[in-house]
Amino acid sequence: MSSNYRAMLTDGLWNNNPGLVQLLGLCPMMAVTTNVMNGLGLGLATLLSLTITNLIIALSRDFIREEIRIPVFVLIIASTVTAIQLLIQAYFHELYLVLGIFIPLIVTNCIVIGRAEAFASKNPPQYAWFDGLMMGTGFMLVLMTLGGIRELLAKGTLFADAHLMFGESARGLTISFGSDYQGLLLAALPPGAFIGLGFLVAGKNYIDQKRAERNTARLQSAKLSEST
């Protein structure tokens, strides 16, 4: 049981990360991640929708007929996202203004329907919600990392606009690196998002490759010591 959860955790956060490996949900990833806080906001919204929809779909998977499953999934996802959108509009109105159209667009986010089809419709609810949580967290971490890189390069700050999410007391969270920094505007524009994501994917592959090399080296040395 616990090994299942651990596999889901490593899948969602690293091995099968929706942002870096499946490359799903690129549209919000490119458009929203101009700073860390936008990434965190949209990431949380996606995470919440993923967890809830995965749970509902896993619970109802026995009653949904195979032929019409996709429309039913979309209905479930759309209602969940609408509820989340209304909640954000009510409690974090400024953030809602920033994220704008991208919250309702979570309905069409390939990650949500992808996990519903690939995982939740085939697995019991106690696994499905956890998968949603992990995939959502993995996506959110990528959004925040990309947002952080772009914000740092374009504005020379980190955690700007934190008050949109955490209230006025969070204004102090913003870290600024020198006021005479000439922002690299390109990083905030769409090309910056593509270049940044490219570097993130390359970085992940590099780490994986190094790890694989180390593992084969270890296996070989183990074999050598056995044979001698």
Binding site: Q182, G183, L184, L185, L186, A187, L189, P191, I195
Partner: protein
């Protein structure tokens, strides 16, 4: 004993990459001297910093990629990239601006795609476009020709403006470029006849930038004579600009500048002879070259006339770079001896 099998043709070719690149640098000499005369230390600092950053980045990235370093540096291709960027950037550009441009040119445009010969985009223009989009303020601050030459700004002031903040009253040394000036004033509803009576034109048909363009034209013609570049790309690009500008100029000469103005302003000649002809990123078939270059020329005129930037050579070249593989695919020449289409 082993005798190597040899085939005929024992004439040693002189078209090694380093020799080609050396000839490109020779061709840049007249323009470099003219720019040096107009902008003084501004070009010296641009050139030195560009070369230092470019060679340093190239060497360190080759080391990172575990490739031989000295052959790649000796083939001079990176030197040409640095030289072109130094001429394209505004004189007295701050050191960090040049560094960012070189980071994009050498690393993102060249080495991430696999190094020389594999890059789909012209490295110098990627670097230029990246800083143009990112730092519009610094990139539009062109010092006025002659007023910022050796006589008016000394070495210390130049150092100060490159490594610290702009020198005091820097505004006094800067001036809108002819293209920029014409664009802004056309936007204000003035006619070209009025605009050409004011500075920086003062009724003159050829402000200093036209002389710079003439110098590029001279070097470019020498390159064609030496067969380093073929005539197709420059003539198609300049022809497209001249035809488009000519048609609209005939329709309304007060709104659309003449072909001569377009041909001898901004980076037209630099682009036509030195940028668009980059053998790696241009189309390679003859018909492909004509279409590719005409596309650049047309886009340059369109961007200058209706775009938000005063000049558009960099964007036009990058845009047509994207089409080069497709053009090559569809303009393959007919194989000798084969009938009909291809």
């Amino acid at each position: 004993m082993i005798f190597g099998a040899r085939t005929s043709t024992f004439i040693t070719g002189t078209n090694h990459l380093s020799q080609l690149m050396l000839q490109v640098i020779y061709a840049l000499v007249p323009a470099t001297l003219v720019v040096l005369y107009f902008f003084g230390w501004g070009l010296v600092s641009n050139l030195l910093l560009s070369l230092i950053f470019a060679l340093g980045l190239e060497a360190s990235f080759l080391k990172l990629r575990q490739r031989p370093i000295s052959p790649a540096l000796q083939d001079l291709s990176i030197t040409v990239t640095a030289w072109l960027l130094a001429l394209a950037l505004p004189p007295y550009a701050p050191w960090w601006l040049i560094l960012v441009a070189m980071l994009f040119a050498v690393i993102i445009a060249k080495h991430l795609y696999g190094g020389l010969g594999y890059n789909p985009f012209n490295p110098a223009m990627v670097g230029y476009a990246a800083v143009l989009v990112s730092f519009p303020l610094q990139m539009t601050l062109w010092p006025a020709p002659l007023q910022s030459g050796f006589g008016n700004i000394d070495f210390i002031q130049a150092l100060q403006s490159v490594f610290a903040s702009p020198i005091p009253r820097w505004d006094a040394y800067t001036q809108a470029t002819p293209l920029d000036h014409a664009k802004v004033n056309l936007g204000l509803g003035k006619t070209l006849a009025e605009i050409f009576q004011q500075p920086p034109f003062n009724g003159l048909g050829s402000p200093p930038i036209a002389v710079v363009n003439l110098a590029y034209l001279l070097g470019g013609l020498w390159l064609i004579y030496k067969r380093v570049i073929s005539w197709h790309i420059p003539s198609a690009m300049l022809g497209a600009i001249a035809v488009l500008a000519g048609i609209f100029w005939l329709i309304n000469p007060n709104q659309y500048p003449s072909p001569a103005f377009h041909l001898f302003s901004g980076a037209t000649m630099l682009g036509a002879f030195f940028i668009a002809t980059d053998p790696v990123t241009a189309s390679t078939t003859l018909r492909g070259k004509l279409i590719y270059a005409a596309g650049i020329g047309g886009l340059v005129w369109v961007i200058r006339t209706w775009g938000s930037y005063p000049d558009g050579v960099a964007f036009a070249v990058l845009f047509m770079n994207m089409t080069a593989p497709l053009l090559d695919q569809y303009t393959q020449p007919r194989v000798y001896g084969k009938r009909g289409k291809r």
